[in-house]
């Protein structure tokens, strides 16, 4: 993109930029809000449940089993629609659809001083959505973490002692599903949504309505998933393998609807980010100047857009098998138990990289800032991330090495799987090069990045044992696998997520977390994370399958060690929660974050708090974000053209909104 600071011909204000309209005349109760959303959800559930009962209660299979999946699924779906309608999300598209001309949304979030209630409503400002996501993701993460503590408590003993088997599997499934479906957005949601427009010099997202929708689906998915406990739990874990899922109790409907909803959230949220990064870059923000974190978000978002539809299709099929008695997964009537495994892992393996790439992005984004050096091998790093993204679609059958499916293809899958370590290794190549003679300040964010480099190495190399068929014959389905992906996801993604919080929260809120408590948080988390998951490799290799509460007595010592370490992880998280609440709410110490870390990044060049259009004037990008020590001037100049008048970073014919 050439540098172009001339204002493009002005377009109709109200059409191109609904965000700017901030007149505040109507009282709050005429707008969508949380109260209406809850009423809508309850109404929707009631109507759906009634309709399902009316429709299907006479069916043979329902009279025989006593559980009406039609009523539950329709209840969930209509409750979700009611929830979204109550928030006012459907007003704009519905009015457009019937040919009305809706007035642009009033938007509290776009104001410089946002009222608190903007954070509890459907808001089109990406900065508010980012904060909503941050709080939401922390909440989901800690909820799912509590389930993990329940699992570890049960595993203190080699026989059943606290949870009955059905409840145990439900707890395992809730923990796994909640972590795996919610944490897909743990970095893309808060930091992707908040910082991508700031990093590329855009005044807003391409599709703010889709972005807000992607967030407001997550509470619905979360509550639907949790409700699975009430309606009988589900026995399948987070993978939901099919013949078991079809015969399972009604909690399975909650799992399927929730995962499908979250898939939808991934599709719309990812789509918005892909379009934003491609179309909304500021003048001078060429592809080689795009920050590496934005690249990671772009690839992640593309994976979401391409992989999540398969998941949504799969959950839909499974719901059909459970309700209208199709036989898609029933071998006796022409279906196949392999079908779900294929659909699920075709989504599931790219999803693993949806969970890994954001971590790479934050690690590589922060190392140049704190090492005061250019990013080593920028283009290689980008190629590596894109390579990981592309290869991730060709490896899913390594989850099925012993299943008997395509047995003769296994060498090929082995090759593609092991090939992923080449682009993944590039992350280490870039980190190693960037750290060479780097004057590294080991601040709290850097501690988390170094921790990630340590953990992910163990996670990645243990993955080689799973990609090799003969060694996978030992490790497949055991705690080894579980330790492996906790090392990559918790050790990679969650560590960098915390690093990102310590790094970016000052920009988002004007408040910095307590650094001393941050260090205590890091060291306790790092030590007890490793102390928890390292022994689990051994536990798995010694013969303990996943998702069992009965294991050999000889493994009790290791399991007790792991459980006690897990409690200390919880303690470490409590330190973080205390720090977070203390530093942002109870005892905030406002700071001006502009030069806090000495970063060159564009996201630190705006005013504080970030104004409604992100930049008062259109920035013109002059150099890359990592030109430390090269003598290059500042990354961008804030031009003379007021953002309101400029359209040069938006498509001119754009109608506005989604």
């Amino acid at each position: 993109m050439a540098i172009d600071t001339t204002p493009a011909p002005s377009v109709d204000e109200s059409g191109s930029a609904p965000l700017h309209n901030t007149h505040d005349t109507k009282p709050w109760y005429t707008e969508g809000n949380l109260v209406y959303a809850l009423i809508g959800a309850v109404l929707g559930y009631t109507i759906g449940h009634w309709f399902g009962n009316w429709l299907a209660s006479g069916y043979q299979q329902i009279q025989g089993s006593g559980q009406n999946d039609y009523a539950l699924v329709l209840g969930y779906l209509l409750a979700t629609i009611g929830w979204l309608a109550g928030l006012g999300i459907l007003n704009y598209p519905l009015m457009k659809m019937v040919g009305l001309h809706p007035s642009p949304d009033e938007d509290d979030g776009a104001k410089a001083h946002r009222p608190l209630r903007a954070y509890f409503t459907y808001t089109l400002d990406h900065k508010v959505v980012g904060v909503q996501y941050l709080v939401g993701m922390l909440f989901y993460f800690f909820t799912a973490g509590l389930f993990a503590l329940a699992i570890r408590t049960e595993l203190l003993s080699p026989t059943r002692h606290i949870l009955p088997p059905g409840s145990y599997l439900t707890v395992v499934g809730e923990h796994g599903t909640m972590m795996m479906m919610m944490m897909t957005s743990v970095i893309l949601g808060p930091f992707g949504n908040y910082f991508i427009p700031l990093m590329i010099g855009a005044r807003r997202m391409a599709f703010p309505r889709l972005e807000a929708l992607s967030f407001w689906i997550t509470p619905a998915a979360f509550i639907v998933l949790l409700s699975g406990i009430i309606v009988g739990g589900f026995p399948t874990g987070w993978t939901g393998y099919a013949p078991l899922a079809v015969e399972a109790t009604q909690g399975q409907d909650a799992y399927l609807v929730a995962f499908g909803l979250m898939g939808t959230s991934m599709i719309v949220g990812g789509f918005n980010i892909v379009v934003t990064v491609i179309n909304y870059r500021a003048p001078g923000m060429t592809w080689t100047r795009v920050p590496i974190f934005t690249w990671a978000m772009l690839v992640t978002a593309m994976l979401m857009v391409l992989a999540a539809p398969v998941l949504v299709a799969g959950t839909y099929m499974s719901l059909l098998d459970r309700t209208v008695q199709t036989a898609l997964f029933d071998v006796n009537h022409g279906g196949s138990s392999y079908l779900w495994q294929n659909l699920y892992w075709f989504f599931g393996h790219p999803e693993v990289y949806i969970l890994a790439l954001p971590g790479f992005g934050i690690a590589l984004e922060l190392l140049p800032v704190f090492g005061r050096k250019p990013l080593f091998g920028y283009r290689t790093a980008v190629a590596g991330m894109v390579g990981v993204g592309m290869l991730s679609f060709f490896v899913w059958q390594h989850h099925l090495f012993v299943s008997g499916m395509n047995p003769d293809m296994r060498p090929v899958v082995m090759l593609t799987t092991e090939m992923i370590s080449i682009p993944t290794g590039i992350v280490y190549l870039v980190a190693v090069g960037t750290l060479w003679r780097a004057k590294l300040r080991i601040t709290v964010p850097v501690l988390f990045i170094l921790g990630m480099l340590f953990n992910f190495l163990i996670g990645g190399i243990s993955g080689v044992f799973l990609s090799d068929v003969p060694t996978d014959a030992v490790a497949h389905g055991t705690f080894f696998v579980m330790a492996h992906f906790h090392y990559t996801i918790m050790g990679g993604l969650i560590f960098t997520f915390f690093g990102g919080i310590y790094y970016w929260l000052p920009k988002m809120t004007g408040r910095q977390l307590d650094q001393r408590l941050g260090r205590i948080h890091f060291w306790t988390l790092f030590i007890f994370f490793n102390s928890t998951f390292l022994p689990l490799f051994a536990v798995g290799e010694l013969g303990m399958p996943r998702r069992v509460f009965e294991y050999e007595k000889t493994l009790q010592g290791l399991n007790m060690w792991v459980s006690i370490s897990a409690y200390f992880i919880a303690l470490s998280m409590l330190i973080f929660i205390y720090n977070f609440i203390k530093s942002t709410i109870l005892d905030p110490k406002p700071i001006i974050p502009d030069d806090l870390w000495g970063s060159r990044g564009l996201e630190w060049m705006t005013e504080n708090p970030v104004p409604e259009n992100n930049f008062a004037h259109v920035p013109t990008v002059l150099s890359g974000p990592y030109e430390y020590g090269t003598g290059a001037g500042p990354m961008a100049v804030i031009g003379a053209v007021p953002v309101e008048a400029a359209t040069s970073n938006e498509p001119v014919t754009h109608e506005g909104g989604s």
Binding site: P165, L169, Y241, A242, P243, L244, E247, S337, R372, K373, P374, F376, G377, Y378, R379, T380, L400, V402, S403, G404, M405, P407, P411, M414, E418, S421, I422, G425, I426, L429, V432, G433, L435, W436, R437, K439, L440, R441, I442, V446, F454, I461, V464, F465, D468, V469, P470, T471, A473, V474, G477, T478, E541, G543, P545, R547, V548, D595, Y628, G629
Partner: protein
């Protein structure tokens, strides 16, 4: 210290890192391969387990220098060049503005690519040579031991059908009249063909100490090969989540001498002679039928069970 280290050139630093890494790696690799290797799971109770242990050993040895490179490098860099974490931004000095190094990047890519390709070749050879390395290889495996024939009446291997159902394992011996037992008996020193299938949901058969793992899918005959080398107990668990009692879906078995196996199976066949007609006829897969039974109407490879066990295959006599 800072003043002293600055005098070293890049090359001297690299040599020091390389030397530390080389020494530590060589020691650690030797320890991993020779000292730790023989104790790695899954032990040496079968040919397959032995092969998997060898693979674990090789991969662990290859992984060692990779770990050590990153750790040694990170430690070296942090020890030598870090600055105080509370340095004010205004006093920060920039590092050398190195944006890349063609030679280093190329070397890295070549080394990782060659390693990956070597791992792929190694894994494939181990998989093919060991006839699936103890893993479930589908209904028509192409990497098979000597004597294997798909036709049950022609194969020279002992066939054990492993049937998973919620929540127990049973074992059928088609060459002995299709007798079905709740314990797995197999002779040592004999190649056994496990035909794994399920009656309901997906299970997975794992003979832990024999290194044999194969999913039990409904409607699928998943074949794995194994040859036990030592007499003793077999520890069998279900390794795929199959419902609430998945955790207690285990069985056990015995590896015995050929003569003992023969005695045992003959006794079993005699004991169960009256019961066998009530079992579904032996088949590769079993599908639930409208009459409540389980059988596959299309395949019935065995003659109906007679008064005496079928002739024992020559290899087992």
């Amino acid at each position: 210290m800072a003043a002293k280290t600055d005098e070293r050139t890049d090359k001297q630093h690299l040599q020091r890192i390389g030397l530390i890494w080389l020494v530590v790696s060589l020691v650690a690799m030797a320890l991993v391969y020779f000292w730790w290797g023989p104790h790695l799971p899954p032990g040496t109770d079968s040919v397959e387990a032995k092969g998997q242990q060898f693979d674990n050993r090789v991969l662990a040895t290859i992984a060692t220098p990779v770990f050590l490179f990153v750790w040694v490098y990170l430690l070296y860099v942090l020890v030598h060049w870090r600055v105080k974490s509370d340095t004010p931004v205004s006093e920060l000095e920039d590092g050398p503005p190195v944006k890349g190094h063609r030679g280093f990047q190329a070397t890295w890519m070549i080394v990782t690519s060659v390693t990956v390709f070597a791992l792929f070749v190694f894994g494939t050879v181990e998989l093919v040579q060991n006839a699936g390395a103890g893993t479930g290889s589908g209904q028509a495996p192409i990497w098979t031991p000597v004597g294997y024939k798909q036709n049950l009446n022609k194969t020279k291997l002992l066939v054990v059908q492993v049937i998973g159902q919620q929540w127990r394992w049973t074992f059928r011996y088609p060459q002995f009249g299709g007798v079905e037992t709740s314990q797995l008996y197999m002779p040592s020193g004999q190649e056994v063909q496990f035909a794994v299938t399920s009656l309901d949901v997906i299970h997975s058969f794992w003979a832990v100490n024999l290194g044999i793992k194969a999913d039990a899918n409904p409607g699928v005959n998943n074949i794995a090969f194994g040859e036990a080398t030592k007499n003793g107990l077999i520890n069998i668990r279900c390794i795929e989540l199959c419902g609430i009692w998945h955790g207690s879906m285990y069985a056990n078995g015995h590896v015995v001498s050929l003569a003992d196996f023969h005695t045992w199976i003959t006794a079993q066949a005699a004991t169960h002679r009256q019961l066998i007609p009530y079992l579904p006829p032996y088949a590769n897969i079993y599908l639930p039928q409208a009459d409540g039974g389980y059988y596959d109407p299309n395949t019935n490879p065995l003659p109906p069970p007679g008064p005496t066990p079928n002739p024992v295959p020559s290899v087992i006599q």
